[in-house]
Symmetry: D2
């Protein structure tokens, strides 16, 4: 059920980020180590910020391991803030508009997990989306409706509070439909300056999530690692699973946590849904 990566720091080649690591996201698309599904071949997406105000989004329904254009873009694009996602559909159609990350103005959003029994709650959730935002929903996934709920609840103003409200609302609607554990999620969202990553599930057994540890210590230990050596001190990665076997490079994000990454700061906040 999907794997993702969020990078911020000095501009890096997308190729270094997405293809070169031992357990890169492209490798995970065929053989995920920690995912609920080993194959994440139902499309992928990359969001990246350049000199433009809004990020670019390149999405495709092909498996990431096969897409030649992804490789071409990755060799030639550099960015200081990158979101990338590989998809394992939980039932909705494999089409570009269902690939993550989703974009709204400056904002990107990607999700690993699911809203359980989505067909049963889809209408109630969609109706709660701010009417002015409703026509912007392009695809048919739970993840995109979740994004638009977060926007409705104020994502552009107070991110942890908006996501807490959206999750609280989803859990409330789900329980009213008799669904025991309405949501399972790791989510990342960014406005291009700060990244917020969430790990939560109604059942308290959430999908895996890791953040990179201090880059300068790692650079000292692994002087031959090309990706590491190119990174600035404030570079930070948040990933569904470690990109390789470097000991000490990765730290698990705890359950029910929001990780806020701004420059070199990466702070944990406790996260719990807000009752509707």
């Amino acid at each position: 059920m999907c794997r993702w990566l969020a990078y911020s720091g000095s501009p890096v080649s997308l190729e270094d980020l997405l293809f070169k690591p031992t357990n890169s996201l492209v490798v995970q698309s065929k053989h995920s180590r920690l995912g609920a599904e080993t194959t994440n071949g139902d499309g992928f997406g990359v969001g990246w910020y350049s000199a433009q105000p809004n990020p670019g989004v390149f999405r495709s329904t092909e498996p990431a391991w096969n897409d030649r254009n992804l490789r071409e873009l990755s060799v030639h694009a550099r960015s200081g803030r990158v979101f990338a996602h590989i998809r394992a559909s939980t039932g909705t159609a494999v089409q570009q508009s269902n690939c993550h990350p989703f974009r709204h103005d400056r904002w990107l959003w990607m999700h690993n997990g699911l809203i359980r029994d989505f067909p049963a709650v889809k209408r109630d959730l969609a109706l709660a989306v701010e009417p002015g935002l409703f026509p912007d929903i392009e695809g048919s996934t739970d993840s995109e409706v979740f994004f638009y709920l977060a926007l409705t609840f104020g994502l552009e103003q107070d991110q942890p509070a908006a996501v807490a409200s959206a999750v609280g609302f989803i859990e409330d609607v789900g329980r009213r439909h008799g669904i025991e554990n309405p949501i399972q999620m790791t989510v990342a969202t960014t406005n291009g300056d700060t990244t917020w990553a969430f790990r939560y599930s109604s059942e308290g057994v959430s999908r895996s999530l890791f953040r990179s540890t201090d880059i300068s210590t790692l650079q000292a230990h692994f002087p031959d690692n090309v990706l590491l050596q190119g990174l600035s001190e404030d570079a930070r990665l948040v990933v569904s699973e470690p990109l390789g076997d470097l000991q000490g490079a990765w730290e698990e994000v705890p359950e029910s946590t929001c990780l806020v990454v701004h420059g070199g700061e990466a702070d944990f906040l406790a996260f719990s849904p807000t009752a509707a």
Copy 2:
């Protein structure tokens, strides 16, 4: 803005129907003679009934003139009831779930035209869809929401009345949003036994629509025409534009009309929207 074809009669090769006529639907995909757009290259779809209760639907985002699988399927499939549609998007994404015909159980639906200013009215229209049907909406087009409104208003029971109610509702919502001519349409729908075709627009200047005239007369006049000679006496075609230049072969469907094709019968009913 799209072209379509609805066939009923003795089982025919899809190739004879879709590829062989001079101005076949596949030819129209590149060079429509009468369409609002000359190019209808934003995907296509074919629905056909076989021995199964529900029809098959083959849809693709490639232009029909390029799709090799469409040609293969057409050579090998025969059917006594075929819907085919080529798309010129009016703005929504080019993806399989936006290609016509749409299917619900035994029912097929295809549309040429548009609901004007759809983003402005989409939410109001979607909310009116029967809640149990809502999660079945897979794509993002006006045409599919129109189908689900018709189902909501009783398409499976009384087809002309259901479409009249759906159109009346769409016009009412549109006018409340200040949209002058809310709908432009030729629509075909079938349950596998009868086909209903509608020609209507709020402004009274509707997209072109034709029905074939008596087959036996045509067969006598054109003894060398392969498609014609293979047809049973009760074969009927309803098309956005004539498939060739056979004089006398095609008769225009009048404005504000519902054409009901059942066996060899093809009767005109007056059509007008029902006020909500």
Copy 3:
């Protein structure tokens, strides 16, 4: 490196054949049990014979597990002779013209395995193809060149001899280029009446290959198995790996063997390459 299935017998639904078995070919596309690769997601193809002289071929670059049109076709098409193939590319591009089965007039051909170091020998192999056939090569795979070599060496006249000559030639060219084990293969080919299946590799350790055992015994043992009950007595399957766990249903095809399936007969012939 690919999995395939060859069916002959009473007309069956492609859905029963490709989707319904426990370890169906579509299941194998994501999780092969015995393949060199567990994921066979680099496209697929189905070839089937209908009333037309030449078979239809439906090929796509999407993973088989995702392709909606494959499912639609499978529900509605029935055939008494079906070839199906799921691809794991050994390096050449993922494009329709590289998907198996390949077709030449009435003939189909599909291959699991590879010609080793194909770039080094491609030119020598392509030059040996009959000049009149050369322009019909559409893709860039080793498997298609192998097919055209077999046609050049007389596939339409004496199938085991033609394949033996083609393999002998490939081994000879490979060894002249210093390649130790030039070919690894299971291959199936048919003219619509008889199927020839080959299991061979230069190193004598070939990809897995199985044939179904006597259908009537199996039908007696498994009265609830839907696919089995619909089959005629002369139905025969040749598969890269068993489609389920029915004990006694599958028999391994020995190394260096050609299996000839004609009606209910399925005979083993010894197979060895013919020196050029």
Copy 4:
């Protein structure tokens, strides 16, 4: 039969180049004014140079007017040297490996036109390709074989001479097969520093080709044109057809000419094929 554009000069946004002009290449993909075909919807490609030694190539089988990823890439990529091509197939498959521009190391190549009766001469032409280059041919087009012939005849050393030899060879092979006018072409090739553009056909009636005139004069005349104002004095465009109606902006490239663009210099050389 295809349209193309070659840009060199100060780095520009691909969006300004490919989407914003009145008669942009993307507009031409649906409605070409001067092309042999009005619709060029059989795929497209963009090649662009960044900080990497070799150019990036983004190619797709979708019509350019529909491809969302082309638009995303165009908004975010800037380059001082861009090749772009929209395809109208003359018969070969619509697949990525048949989309222009083709790349070999630092070199790009794109072609509008055709080698007549290509199936008849394909083998003779392919055999003349340098054996070491032969396995790099990935697709099935005449245009790619033409590129590899040019490379074989020394494209990396003396470009006008290599193309003259390749064309001479193609005409010779064609005539030996009884083909009256073996080649029709406008071609562009670049190594990232210089662009060579050729206009030639055996019959002396070649596809249209234009170059931009002096930029500073144009900038003075059209102070409101966004694309123009962003260009350096040495910016040069070579295009199949003018990108708009600016009077005096475009000059036709004469028949049988090679145009060499290096920095602000754009010189005409007479071009004629070299007898083999």
